[in-house]
Amino acid sequence: MQVDQMVTLPKELETVSLETGAEAVRRYAELTTDFNPIHVDPEFAAGTKFGAPIAHGTMSLNLIVQAIEQTFGTMPAGLTIEVRFVRPVKVGATIRAGGTLQSAAPGTYGIFVETQEGERAIEGICVLPPHERAS
């Protein structure tokens, strides 16, 4: 599906949030088959440098994907995302994802996931395909 190319791009992506509780993380482990104990085993995680379980990186990244879908009503074909996982998210943290328009041509958003305390967990950009960009 294509977004009307005459539509001006929104300045901000819709913000979405998620509570990364242990049950949600267990579900994400089931979904991806990623049962790394750093995510799901508090005893193991206590002995690591993180000191406690951390959420899967793409569990947080998917919040950005959700923000994009909610903003445009669909995931535009040809959209690209490039991110760095800059800080782990402790299981139980509430996170939010969003983005700010950096350039209308090409349609580029600075995107992020951050904790309630404002600590960035993911940073990067998403670039809309040519037919999605504002004139």
């Binding site: 569990m59 040809g78 959209l79």
Partner: protein
Amino acid sequence: MTSAPAGDVWVFDDFHPGARLGDVSIPLDADRMTHWAAIYGKARTTNHVPAGMLVAAMMEAYLTVVRPRPPGNIHANQKLAFGGTAKPGDRLEAEVRCLNKVLRNERRWITLDVRLRNGAQDVLRGEITTIWAR
């Protein structure tokens, strides 16, 4: 088809840029939809698979093909290119390749390319860059 590591787990030396590591088939079945909805909420319509489920399928493909892995790997960077959509019940075909490997500052960087197809359509291409533990 999946490759296998030379030893007990996949280590840096097992990766060869350009090599096809394996293929896996991932159904977007009711169990996966239920897990997704429990985490992120229900999809907008019953005929819609959220794009994030494609990202989850990309990870499942990588983790299914490249195993066992050493503990301590760090998912550092991620690129995604969306190309299409899927419906509940569709079956995705994934191909996992080694794109690159670099030893830099005593860190072992591995980049894998996961290509997800839904029928003839490329729905997602993902580049997973990981700092490999061994």
